[in-house]
């Protein structure tokens, strides 16, 4: 096929796609309109299960199976990073140098680290009540730990971050999500069906059946996955050198 023929095929395909998209645009609900066929049903189902945040209900109840897929993608990509960024045979580890950090910056890091960590846990725990959830809170909590690298140096971070432990916790949290789903099968309903736990009182921490449980599992999975991911990047950027002495 010549270049010209390929371009013609591409133009035809693009024109067809554009025509279909434009036709679809005219059938969309109006922007910002008060009514939406899927939104109304999602809100109704979420209120029936006493979950205040409809997004959490969609993520962890109505579409909980999609979240298994998303969790596996994160898990697999972190696994890929661990394999790709490993220390190869012609590389050695150099001890990271201590860093001189201005005192206000160091103090800020030491004060904000626990505050940001607790804020991350708050975002995870209140996922079914207010905006947030396992993913957002997990990323915040994991970022908080890395304040120790920013406010001090990599040696300090390595002291409070045994990577092996975080790898195990990552796998355990991923398993916990699937096991919670399988418990539904054993109880005689379906995979990840929200029938195991009582729905509780609306707008409290224990409302929404299995939504808070799955939220916590995702929070732990994401936090550990981000820590492991950043550990590989930090190892490469700070510690690992080529054997010849050249960095």
């Amino acid at each position: 096929m010549t270049r010209r023929a390929r371009l013609i095929v591409l133009a035809l395909g693009g024109a067809g796609l554009a025509a279909l998209l434009i036709a679809a645009c005219f059938d969309l609900p109006r922007f910002g309109g008060p009514w939406h066929p899927y939104g109304d049903r999602a809100v109704h189902a979420s209120l029936a299960r006493r979950t205040a945040n409809t997004i959490a209900s969609v993520n962890f109840d109505q579409r909980a199976f999609d979240t298994v897929g998303e969790m596996s993608i994160l898990f697999a990509s972190v696994l890929g990073t661990v394999v790709l960024l490993r220390q190869t045979r012609d590389e050695k580890r150099a001890l990271p140098q201590p860093e001189e950090v201005a005192l206000p910056v160091r103090r800020y890091a030491l004060v904000v680290l626990p505050v940001a960590f607790v804020a991350g846990l708050y975002v995870i725990a209140h996922g079914q009540l207010s905006p947030g959830g396992g993913f957002q809170g997990g990323v915040v909590a994991a970022t908080a730990l890395h304040l120790l690298y920013l406010g001090a140096d990599y040696r300090a971070l390595e002291r409070i971050r045994p990577v092996g432990l975080y790898e195990i916790c990552d796998a355990l949290a991923a398993c916990a999500y699937v096991v919670t789903g399988l418990a539904g099968v054993l109880a005689g309903t379906a995979f990840l069906a929200n029938t195991l736990l009582p729905y509780g009182t609306f707008n409290t921490l224990s409302s929404g059946g299995i939504v808070p449980v799955l939220n916590a599992a995702i929070g732990m999975e994401v936090a550990c996955a981000v820590v492991v991911l950043l550990a590989r990047f930090l190892d490469q950027a700070v510690e690992i050198e080529e054997e010849s002495g050249k960095p």
Partner: protein, 60 residues
């Protein structure tokens, strides 16, 4: 580690725990027993992280 160091460490964790529990109570909208339990546990983890971080930076 002698008794005085242990005491100071415990005091540090206790202060952080109290502070972070208050922070949790400020962040949430409605307070009930479960919130107290979850908040106090989260604050305890945060307090231990705070002490571990300070030791990691200081103990060099």
């Amino acid at each position: 580690m002698d008794a005085q160091t242990a005491l100071r460490g415990a005091l540090e964790v206790l202060l952080w725990w109290a502070g972070l529990t208050v922070l949790w109570l400020v962040l949430i909208s409605t307070v009930d027993t479960l919130e107290w339990v979850v908040g106090a546990s989260a604050a305890l983890v945060g307090a231990l992280a705070a002490r571990a971080a300070r030791r990691a930076v200081g103990g060099r």
